[in-house]
Subunit: 209 residues, 2 copies
């Protein structure tokens, strides 16, 4: 059975998304520039540029290898309804997952098949059921809890997250969606597994104790 | 003229002190254990053990060198009244600063001279005046903004912090005093200067852009 992991960009003040980040108002509170500063590290990786068709070039070192591994080891994704809704409005026709994606929701909906191997399944039966389905679909590969923050918090509180990859960027958002809050006590325990240095982020990898 | 810097331990969820941390109630919300987990990395450094008379042993590698440099380059400290009050009740006779310390306060008080080179000066004229006095006292050496969180935030908002040393520990406090909040927009900008790996914390060093 594979691992359950998160892989997320985080600001120094603990946010994974800036306040006011909605596709219908790209200028609101300057969220576009803030988001760009947080994502600068990955926009600059060759594998990511290639996958998202952002054009040629990009770094090919250890950070790029990490990005490739993260994509390649993922056999299924889980995400919240809010993240899905935002993505539905902005992903390209070929959604960038290329695996089954389990969307936590309260409303039933038929699976939505996209070109390139991404199929969205809508799961109204809670996070544990979604994880069981994702594990089955992933087989030997890993399950990525894609987000948002509240979904990651649910799985942290269930004690099932084996690994956390965090790209910590020297950026302040001031407000937005915080990754690490609403955790039950005693909180889950992790140890530092490895650290990769980059110019725009520090790539921290933690594994569960 | 020297630099102005902070050097602080931080949890993954962004706290520098756990909720309920008061000397008169050491069991409150398990704060002692939480604090111990955050401070594990430094308790284990030879220089720190020696300076605080915690007994022999400890690591002597690059993290220990960093701890020594941090102490040795500091020519003056600045702290808030709350941090001073807690310390006044718990520091040993020989307070662990060995420099002039400028305490931001609203009440006048004569300087308080401790054995070992620490003299506390009480400054009711605001953070900029305290910094001017600290710079003068430090000469070529650096000024450390010791804490707490609100004092560091004041100096970040003044735009005078040149460097941030952050020991990021894989620990969750859930609640407590948050380091990075109440920052004005646009927020101060930093770049990653270096990263040192340790078992109990990742030692991030940022410098102002």
């Amino acid at each position: 059975m594979g691992n359950v992991f998160i892989s997320i960009g985080l600001t120094l003040d603990g946010f994974l998304a800036p306040e006011g980040m909605t596709m219908d108002d790209p200028g609101h509170r300057n969220w576009g520039a803030k988001w760009g500063a947080l994502m600068a590290w990955i926009i600059n990786q060759q594998y990511f540029r290639d996958k998202l068709k952002l054009g040629p070039g990009g770094e090919t070192g250890p950070v790029n290898d990490r990005v490739r591994q993260t994509f390649e080891r993922t056999g299924a994704n889980i995400m919240g309804k809010r993240m899905f809704d935002q993505g539905e409005a902005s992903w390209p026709e070929e959604a960038p997952f290329h695996t089954p994606v389990y969307v936590l929701t309260h409303t039933k909906r038929d699976p939505w098949v996209r070109p390139g191997g991404t199929t969205f399944h809508f799961i109204p039966d809670g996070p544990e059921r979604a994880l069981a389905l994702a594990r089955e679909a992933a087989g030997d590969r890993d399950v990525r809890i894609s987000g948002g923050a509240k979904v990651i918090q649910q799985y942290l509180n269930l004690g099932v997250i084996d690994e956390m990859e965090i790209a910590l960027a020297p950026v302040f958002f001031g407000a937005g969606r915080r990754l690490f809050e609403n955790l039950d006590e005693p909180a889950p325990q992790f140890r530092i597994e490895s650290v990769l240095n980059g110019s725009f982020a520090t790539h921290l990898r933690y594994v569960r104790l």
